[in-house]
């Protein structure tokens, strides 16, 4: 894996250096003839585009980072709050909680059964990651990540309830909640997406 990446890098450097030398050549020839301008533009276009992208990124990243710093905590709390509200209204409609973790396979008053599932991938913002980094230095509980994960879990549980309701199940038994990291432990690249997947599944049952 590592050698292949090194090979790809070498290849890219080779191609780029060839490209640059070729375009330099063209520029030199163009200056002799006096009509090389379009060629120069054509050969330098990828580099111009790359630098433009870099400049845009330099402006856009701090703006998005600040946006996250100002709004992300509030958005997480709002998501948690909305999920709880939807849960309460569904409980009122159904007359109680419809999810439970007990294995009710022994029931005999059931006419049909089937798998129900819901999932969601939630990531902390880069602002949260920064707070988490400083929190790690001190130790103790990292509250920002806990807020993100618990809000995501509340949302996924609510999605499972709504999925069960729209599929027509009366109750969901044997509910299991899995958490899977989208980022592998072995990867030490900085450019990966930080996210946690929450997956809830259970057996929907319908009474006779």
């Amino acid at each position: 894996m590592k050698t292949s990446i090194a090979n790809i890098r070498l290849f890219c450097i080779l191609v780029m250096s060839l490209f640059v030398s070729f375009s330099m050549n063209v520029i030199a020839q163009g200056s002799d003839e006096g009509s090389g301008f379009p060629f120069v533009v054509v050969f330098l276009l990828p580099f111009i585009l790359l630098s433009l992208f870099g400049i845009i990124w330099m402006v856009a990243y701090p703006v998005m980072f600040l946006w996250g710093a100002v709004f992300s905590s509030g958005k997480v709390e709002q998501m948690h709050h909305e999920a709880n509200n939807r849960r309460d209204s569904l409980r009122n409609r159904k007359g109680g909680e419809i999810l439970n973790t007990i294995d009710g396979g022994y029931r005999t008053d059931v006419s049909s059964a089937g798998l129900v599932s819901a999932n969601g991938v939630f990531g902390p913002s880069h602002w949260h990651l920064m707070i988490g980094f400083f929190n790690n230095l001190i130790g103790g509980s990292v509250t920002v990540f806990q807020q993100v994960i618990s809000a995501g879990r509340a949302e996924v549980m609510q999605r499972l309830r709504e999925q069960a309701e729209s599929d027509g199940w009366d109750e969901v038994i044997n509910v299991r909640i899995d958490t899977a990291s989208m980022t592998p432990q072995s990867s030490n690249s900085k450019n990966t997406v930080r996210g946690v997947e929450i997956y809830a599944y259970g057996t929907g049952i319908k009474y006779e």
């Binding site: 998005m64 022994y106 029931r107 999932n119 990531g123 899995d178 989208m182 980022t183 996210g195 057996t203």
Partner: protein, 111 residues
């Protein structure tokens, strides 16, 4: 009403509520490794800066799980089972953006 995938009943309880299991036929499994395209990966990376739900990955994993369950059901059909009970899911991230989804359960016959 009954969630039946290709004529096979899938539940994650040890027994099927309201039915009687007559024969167990061993473990069946299905897995899939999926990755999203580069464009959506970049978009998810941008969304990651401000935080919140990454919808691209949610869809990716849901599709992949359905595919894994489909393969498990095909496995159960090939040995002549009529239901799969005690279904479990396992996930592993191979590289960023690519995930392996694995579904396994016990193939049974029921009345």
């Amino acid at each position: 009403m009954e969630q039946v995938v290709n004529g096979i009943l899938v539940v994650n309880t040890e027994t099927i509520p309201g039915k009687v299991i007559t024969e167990t036929m061993g473990v069946v499994s299905g897995s899939t490794v999926r990755a999203k395209n580069v464009g959506k990966d970049i978009f998810a990376g941008l969304k990651n800066i401000v935080g919140g739900e990454l919808t691209q990955y949610t869809e990716l994993l849901q599709e992949s799980r359905n595919e894994a369950v489909g393969r498990m059901v095909a496995d159960a059909m090939s040995i002549g089972a009529t239901a799969v009970v005690n279904v479990r899911f396992a996930t592993s991230a191979i590289t960023a953006g690519a995930a392996e989804l694995f579904a396994y359960g016990t193939a049974v016959k029921y009345e």
